[in-house]
């Protein structure tokens, strides 16, 4: 079989053709006996003018309510990704911050107590009313006024006054110095959106207001929705040129966009095989099933590892560091050294993820800005095994081992350092069970006659790794892989998938969990404030209470000092921000509050039957997901195939 491979290495698309000689691992079910036309899923819409995507967060529970400022409203059903525009938006594919409703960066005063935001001109709401600074002022004032809004506490605490010197400038006076205030308006999957003043001000109670039909400044407006929450249809507005999307990128191509919910992955795949879905979020095997049977379908990368691996989020294992023995960094490090990473990756995601040795993902600008500058430090980093023994855990060959695994699985992958770095990262840690044992023995752990580890008090060591029950999530995948590794190491480790995982995590009612080992960074720009600040000791709550910070409840005075320093650093001063960021990451590696494993892997497929020019890895003009706010920026670039 001949396969054309297009992989971007260092910015230049490289096209090469390889001959696949090995038997492809993916086997297919027989082709349908009857080649019939797909039944018309669309009751009213022309299929070739419609893009159909699935909703990541599931069936919409509040189909008739678009008031996203209150509670949780399934905003990726099209609200944030089609109907609304934020002030700024992160694009993790290009590493850039895009101006939406804003016309440039915020301008802070030197002490970070006031900021000025310039606004874009020529934008109109869906109903034709012009968008002006009055809308922004109204939004902030309303959020401050009513305590039913999610963001109420934040704005009430931080905003002293807000005003509009003219129609396209907003001035905000803060109650205290805050160099990151504007990030409340920087969209990276969730942001404070702007309310249309002329609609909200008519409502006596803006908290109870349903905001139906929704009105935004984005290129698509609400067409109709299903009362049961299975689908929402959006229609291109006639004055699309009055939305920031239209102004920046031109006319969106699809006339309609449908966001649909499928209750199980099997049906989702069948929908794509019958060309009733253009974009899907899948599982590792679900993606293989689609690629094996759908000739017109493609993944983000045209060849192995196929997946979206530039999502700005690091997955892994987190420990509740207030509960012994996980309050001991030696124990946390020992559990890390007991992991054989290529095997772990094989179990978790069939070896498709990008490894990261630090608490931010190895993607975008992060390797260049942070991980590579840290390599020499990582190489010299030592663990004290006791008895005067030292051990250097860093392993630059880990990505190559992952590539080896892939080849062993029958996937085609070139033995080329540039490819390997792109697909599997720069390095990770050694598989060192003996050293892990020494670390544990140093702390009073021992092994019984069956080779099972005992806690210092002589009780058998049991680990139950908490994750939710959705098998496609990375919390579940990480728990399965980690418990396998620890079981081999001699710990009674089992995954514990439960529907209550979110609650157990947030209230600290767990010991080990598949939750994020660190908060995901912005995804664009060099500022790590978002990641580091969540380790702030101020946010740590005792077990039993809802925490505001990391669920692992780890904090340290050194990290607090770094956070304080970062708060006083101008977010736009790249060099300074990177330096403080590296300082924070070093503390995180030394203390290892959670084990970072691989960057979030998205198993996603596109059908090219009706639409082409999807932002694949060889042509990543924007981020590839339908659930991110940037989905609307993909619309002008899609090309109808003419079917």
């Amino acid at each position: 079989m001949e396969v054309t491979r297009i992989v971007e290495v260092e910015g230049t698309p490289v096209v090469e053709t390889v001959i696949e000689t090995q038997e492809v691992v993916v086997t297919a079910t027989p082709v349908p006996v009857e080649k019939e036309e797909a039944p018309d899923v669309l009751g009213v819409l022309p299929r070739n003018e419609t893009v159909i995507a699935d909703i990541l967060t599931g069936r919409v529970g509040t189909p008739g309510n678009f008031n996203d400022w209150v509670g949780w409203k399934w905003r990726d059903r099209g609200m944030q990704n089609l109907a609304w525009e934020p002030l700024w938006l992160v694009d993790f594919a290009t590493g850039k911050i895009i101006n939406g409703l804003a016309d440039g960066d915020p301008i802070y005063s030197d002490d970070f107590t006031t900021l000025t935001i310039p606004l874009r001109q020529g934008v109109a709401w869906h109903d034709g009313e012009p968008f002006t600074a009055a809308d922004v002022v109204y939004t902030i004032e309303t959020l401050v006024k009513y305590d039913g809004f999610n963001a109420h506490s934040y704005f009430a605490d931080n905003v002293k006054s807000v005003s509009a010197p003219d129609d396209y400038t907003v001035e905000i006076e803060l109650t205290q110095s805050n160099s990151r205030f504007h990030t409340r308006f920087l969209d990276r999957w969730g942001v404070t959106h702007i309310m249309p003043k002329h609609i909200f001000e008519k409502e006596a109670d803006p908290v109870a207001f349903e905001f139906n039909p929704v009105v935004g400044t984005g290129p698509y407006k609400l067409h109709s929705y299903d009362e049961s929450g299975f689908w929402t249809i959006w229609e291109k507005r006639e004055d699309w040129d009055k939305s920031p999307t239209g102004i920046m990128y031109g006319e969106p191509k699809p006339k309609y966009v449908v966001l649909q919910y499928f209750a199980n992955e099997g049906a989702k795949i069948l929908a794509q095989l019958t060309h009733q879905a253009d974009y899907l979020n899948l599982s590792s095997d679900g993606l293989k099933a689609v690629l094996a049977q759908c000739e017109s379908c493609r993944a983000y990368q045209p060849t192995f590892p196929w997946v979206v691996n530039n999502d700005p989020c690091i997955t892994g294992i987190v420990f509740n560091s207030t509960i012994p023995p996980y309050d001991n960094k030696d124990v946390r490090w020992a559990l890390l050294l007991a992991i054989n990473i290529p095997e772990y990756m094989g179990i978790a995601v069939d070896g498709t993820g990008v490894l990261s040795p630090v608490h931010i993902p190895s993607l975008g600008t992060y390797p260049e800005n942070f991980i590579k500058p840290m390599v020499s430090w990582l190489t010299d980093f030592e663990l004290d095994l006791g008895n005067g023994e030292k051990f250097k855990p860093y392993d630059p060959t880990a990505p190559a081992q992952e590539a080896e695994y892939a080849v062993g699985r029958g996937y085609i992958f070139p033995n080329d350092p540039a490819y390997i770095e792109k697909a599997f990262g720069i390095g990770w840690y050694k598989y060192a069970p003996d050293e892990a044992a020494k670390l544990l023995e140093k702390n009073g752990f021992s092994k019984n006659a069956d080779g099972q580890w005992l806690l210092p008090d002589g009780e058998p060591w049991q680990i139950r790794c908490v994750s939710n029950t959705d098998t496609t999530t990375h919390g579940y995948r990480n728990c399965i892989a980690a418990t396998q590794q620890w079981k081999k190491f001699g710990i009674d480790a089992e995954p514990y998938p439960t529907e209550a995982a979110a609650d157990l995590n947030n209230t600290g009612d767990f010991e080990v969990s598949g939750n994020w080992p660190a908060q995901e960074p912005w995804g664009a720009g060099p500022d790590l404030y978002r990641t580091l600040d969540l380790w702030n000791s101020e946010y740590v709550k005792p077990n039993g209470e809802v925490t505001g910070g990391q669920v692992g409840r780890w904090s340290s005075p050194e990290m607090d000092a770094v956070i304080k320093k970062l708060r006083e650093t101008d977010p736009t001063d790249s060099e300074a921000v990177i330096e403080v960021g590296i300082e924070g990451l070093k503390i995180a590696v030394t203390e290892m509050p959670g084990i970072p494993t691989y960057g979030y892997v998205g198993f996603m497929s596109w059908d090219e039957t009706y639409w082409s020019n999807w932002p694949g890895s060889e042509n990543a003009y924007t981020q590839p997901y339908a659930h991110w706010g940037n989905f609307k920026y993909m619309m002008p670039f899609l090309e109808p195939t003419g079917k």
Binding site: D147, T183, D226, D509
Partner: protein, 335 residues
């Protein structure tokens, strides 16, 4: 009069007590679990972006508690629950805030009721008629063949069976849709295109439920009839030369149907908790997933709304069956 005093009144008291106890139990049980609606809401918002500030989390918790009506002790909340219930008000859903519970149920119930009422009656009637005949003519070849088919179908895991139907009839032979209760964009309306669309979409779910449920009823009925058939009076009737069809309808079915009526009543009552796996396989709207999601998100009001309806339905169904028993089986008298 003795009937009313000695049977009906105690039975009605029992009815009220069971209902009350059931509702009380489902009020308190979820509150013992780690699932907390406040934490759930916060996690949902928090994990989806930065709109909650870590520093102000306590304030947010207090605000949400007030909005959800979760202030005060469990006992106060319990009292409020009954007060609201007598005004036929289930409150608002937490996770789907601020949608009223009654609205959510109102949207899901017609789907569930339409699908499950039809299939329950269908598989009960078909299963019992065919099972009854197969039991009576248990020596015949077709009876044995049917028995064999039912025997193989019944243990099939429902998920796999339903998915196989989907694969077969929605993918290989593309006669039916892959998912959903209606086509995308089809608005609810009482006209033929809408009804046709609903019927077309519900065909596969209905088929899967009817075949599997029918197989269960078939087997049960067949066993019972075989036993009744062996009774003396049936043998006498046969020897006495009474018309076969008369024997079947008058003696056999009538005697065999009694336990099956209890089963029907209970099955009808269970309808209100929905058909979760059916809804998952066919992406079909209904009460099953609504209830399941309510459980996992700790949405107390929604759990209470659905289970209260369900409990009242089941207790009433059992009451009705108990009161009607004498009409089917005159041997049972209420002294």
């Amino acid at each position: 009069m003795t009937f009313i005093r000695r049977y009906l009144i105690p039975r009605l008291i029992q009815y009220v007590l069971v209902t009350f106890l059931g509702i009380t139990a489902v009020f308190f049980i979820p509150r013992f679990l780690p699932n907390d609606p406040i934490v759930r809401t916060i996690t949902a918002i928090q994990s989806r972006g930065a709109t909650l500030d870590p520093a102000t989390i306590d304030e947010t918790v207090t605000n949400l508690k007030r909005m959800y009506g979760l202030e005060g002790s469990w006992l106060e909340q319990y009292g409020n629950f009954w007060l609201r219930l007598f005004r036929a008000d289930f409150g608002v859903s937490f996770f789907q805030f601020p949608t009223p519970v009654s609205k959510l149920i109102g949207i899901a119930l017609p789907w569930t009721a339409g699908l499950l009422l039809t299939t329950t009656f269908l598989n009960w009637t078909l299963g019992n008629i065919i099972g009854g005949l197969a039991g009576y003519y248990s020596r015949n070849r077709w009876s044995r063949a049917l028995d064999a088919v039912a025997m193989v179908i019944r243990p099939l895991p429902y998920y796999i069976f339903a998915f196989a139907l989907l694969l077969l009839l929605a993918y290989w032979v593309r006669w039916f849709p892959v998912s959903g209760g209606t086509a995308i964009g089809r608005k609810v309306a009482f006209n033929w295109p809408f009804i046709k669309d609903v019927l077309w979409h519900s065909f596969l779910p209905a088929l899967s439920l009817t075949i599997l449920g029918g197989a269960v009823n078939f087997q049960t009925m067949k066993l019972i009839v075989q036993n009744v058939n062996a009774e003396n009076y049936v043998q006498y009737a046969k020897l006495g030369g009474i018309n076969e069809s008369r024997i079947v309808s008058k003696y056999v079915i009538r005697n065999a149907i009694l336990p099956q009526i209890t089963n029907l009543a209970l099955a009808l009552g269970q309808i209100f908790s929905g058909a979760l796996i059916t809804e998952i396989v066919f992406s079909y709207p209904g009460l099953g997933t609504l209830l399941y999601n309510a459980i996992v998100t700790g949405d107390y009001n929604l759990i209470m709304g659905i289970t209260t309806i369900s409990i009242v339905a089941i207790t009433t169904a059992i009451l009705v069956v108990d009161l009607l028993y004498p009409f089917w089986d005159p041997r049972i008298r209420y002294m």
